[in-house]
Amino acid sequence: MGVDLGTTFSAIAYVDARGQVKTIPNREGELTTCSAVLIEPDRTVRVGREAVRARSDRPDRVAINFKRDMGEKYYRESVGGKEFSPEALSALVAKKLAADASERIGPLAGAVITVPAYFGDARRKATQDAGRIASLNVLDIINEPTAAALANAFRQYLRRGGDATEFELAAIATTVPSTTLVFDLGGGTFDATIIHIEGERFDVLATGGEVRLGGIDFDARIVDWFCEEFIRRHGIDLRDSPESLAGIHSVCEMAKVTLSTREETVIVAERFGKTLHMPVNRRHFEEVTSDLLTRAQISVETLLEDTLLGWDRIDDILLVGGSSRMPMVTEMLSRISGKKPNMDQAPDEIVAHGAAIHAAIIQMHSQPPASVEKDGSRTLSTPEVGRESDGGAPPLPNLFDRKVIEATKRVEMINVNSHGLGVIVRDSRENQVVNSVVIPRNTPLPTERVKVFGTEAANQRIVRLRIVEGDTRDTRGCTQLGECVIRDLPEGLPKGALVEVSFRYDTSGRIHVRAVELRHGNVAEVDLVRDTGFDQVDLMRLRDAVSEIEVE
């Protein structure tokens, strides 16, 4: 199962026994579900289009765009007079997706949840937590652009005449090595990632993006423009009440979507008996949002600069995310690259598809080969009893064709870290506290890096290392992930005694830090597991709370 929890839309997909990827529609029959949560006074929770519709009359009961606040420890969204963490709200969306999906295809095994590649550690943890709170068996999280590239490669294979049932050696593999730029402009986040694909090997070369740039920012620009016009004509600000703001928001969003296919549309709004009909054409829309698109452009250009790649080395540009449908995105990319971006697959579902393929791959790896019959016929084995799995979710059933298993097992993915990792030290020359980056961003994982520092003062008995995420020397650009403390150093250690700090970052996101005082060998070690932002008690409490809630 692959779950794409988007800022504005979410989707769920799975790989069927014959190796075909399918999006599972929700109960209302839509392939994507709006990431909006309505909480009724009787504590019924509704997720999806109905919640969006409810915004215009009961905006205080609806939560939207909470993905932007994911991983903020103290941030609580107030919905219907009650406080919710962004994780809990995301969990409700995930729960709705999972519930609708299991209604169609039966009980779910494990899920892979997607995150924007540019998400930092805290946001990743939060996303994983959201899945757990929704009682999903979270197998892994995967970067959205990687998922998209995976799904795209899979699809290209099928287009070349491959049959998913025949999943030969080259199953997902492309024949020629190629480098793809994945341009993912979604509802709330923007990711740009360069992936090199050779055979079954997916090498992420570099990733960049912005956590706060997406379709909703484009909507806000039209809203502001239209409201200013309304004030000019009628002297009334449409934004003065939440109801009216929500109303104008959905009208403007619709206008934006229309302008992707048509040159002109009309925005109509009414307030206190005053009406305004305002024609808006695509050129004007592009004008008021030009700086937003420019930001995406700058991100792409700096990414290419970082990787020292020219446009001639990029073979494909893959457009992902609903907002890439805006014609100006394609225009901008063709202008700066001289290439035609490729946008043939449903851009809202491709990420969920990739996650589903990734989930399938993980299941293959965890599957004991003995349970596959020799002749390769499809086996529907009984669930293994007593297998340990996260939180008592049902064990993974063995549902796949042997060839499917063989092929997907070969897939190898090399990821990079989207943010640097370092330790806070004092720079003796400047006498300033700085972040000394140990693993710079865009380093292929897994990796191990070592740096040596000197102690700050003579006779120091304790060395405290603050481990941070961030790319600047300036500590204000960093977030602390943990601490590693060497205690009980012998007396009389001179100033500048050497301390070796090594960072090991593995593919599952675990950071192992080891610090050694080199003369006496005092060691301190710490494991930073990207496990959870909550402590276990909170997590269980939230999970119980959410599982009691009926999501419709």
Binding site: E72, L292, I298, S299, E301, T302, D471, T472, R476, G477
Partner: protein, 322 residues
């Protein structure tokens, strides 16, 4: 936690000097005001973006919003300055807002002083008659390398033979090549301040350094160029040699000669060709084997078109353009 940087994120995160907030686009991008260089603008945009972006995930919500504002501003600057029409509109507004004269600022930036001095190629295997005006803001390189400002194509010239540099309102020549030499007014130099009328010999080329005014006078001289072509003899670096303006060409076996004809029976300083009384003449410099014009040994003799000059084993055809 003190959040004093919220007052001025531009100063704190981009190190911009105190000034208007928000800063105008050129201040924000740290460009000269009204800068019109497209590449420089694009580069500045990326540079500032790289500096601010690592802070976008700052744990404090308000700071994050301030960072977002700065990023939006940079993008707006990029939009406004990358398009010709938009930039024109923005520049006019900005000039009015700041009360400054845009035309004058642009004109003052354009005012690179006109060159006062020039080099002429007075004699040499190629490029004779060329005038190279010397721009004061540049380093003028002289050598065989085609990337030199003054490329001189002869094996006697070093890849980077020498360079001219403007310093303290004066032009200086500096010799660079280790194997070869430069003569200025017949003296071997490593470095010299140049004066109008100086004669530089660089690997067989004669370059004259002039004040612009004096070149006009010199070019007013009605002096026909002379070309010397080796028609028989051992091979030499420059088989064809021309001269237009110099007082003389020294021919000999020696390295310091203007036109080097290296071979037996050629004296170190064999003869000299100069312009006198409206004609080119050859003067023998008491060479061992003599200077012969049209088969006759001469001490001093005027030269006409198609005369044949014999110097040792070399036979040289004289061409004088009318």
């Amino acid at each position: 936690m003190s959040l004093d940087w919220l007052d001025d994120p531009y100063g704190v995160f981009l190190d911009l000097p105190a000034g208007d907030r928000p800063p105008h686009h050129y201040e924000l991008l740290e460009l000269d005001i009204f800068c019109a260089h497209r590449e420089r603008i694009a580069h500045a945009v990326r540079k500032q973006f790289r500096r601010i972006k690592p802070y976008q995930d700052h744990p404090d919500r308000e700071t994050r919003e301030a960072i977002q504002d700065v990023m939006t501003r940079i993008a707006q600057a990029a939009v406004a300055l990358s398009d010709r029409e938009r930039k024109e509109t923005y520049d006019c507004e900005l000039a009015e807002r700041l009360g400054i004269d845009r035309e004058r600022i642009l004109a003052s930036r354009m005012a690179v002083p006109l060159p006062e001095f020039a080099l002429t190629v007075a004699a040499g295997p190629t490029n004779v008659g060329n005038v190279i005006e010397l721009l004061t803001d540049s380093l003028v390189t002289v050598g065989r390398d085609p990337h030199c400002v003054i490329p001189l194509y002869s094996l006697r010239v070093g890849m980077l033979h020498g360079q001219l540099r403007y310093r303290d309102r004066r032009w200086w020549y500096r010799h660079m090549d280790k194997q070869r030499l430069t003569l200025i007014n017949d003296e071997r130099v490593t470095q010299k301040e140049l004066e109008s009328g100086d004669r530089l010999e660089v690997g067989g080329y004669v370059l004259c350094f002039w004040h612009i005014e004096e070149i006009r006078r010199e070019s007013a001289l009605d002096r026909p160029p002379i070309t010397l072509i080796v028609t028989r003899g051992p091979s030499v670096p420059d088989a064809i040699y021309s001269a237009r303006a110099p007082e003389y060409i020294l021919i000999g076996e020696c390295e310091t000669s203007t036109w080097q004809l290296a071979g037996p029976q050629v004296s170190r300083h064999h003869c000299r060709i100069l312009y006198e009384e409206n004609r080119w003449i050859v003067v023998d410099l008491q060479s061992t084997n003599g200077t012969v014009v049209n088969g006759k040994r001469v001490g001093r003799c005027p030269l006409a078109d198609h005369d044949v000059l014999t110097i040792g084993q070399f036979q040289v055809m004289i061409r004088v353009r009318k």
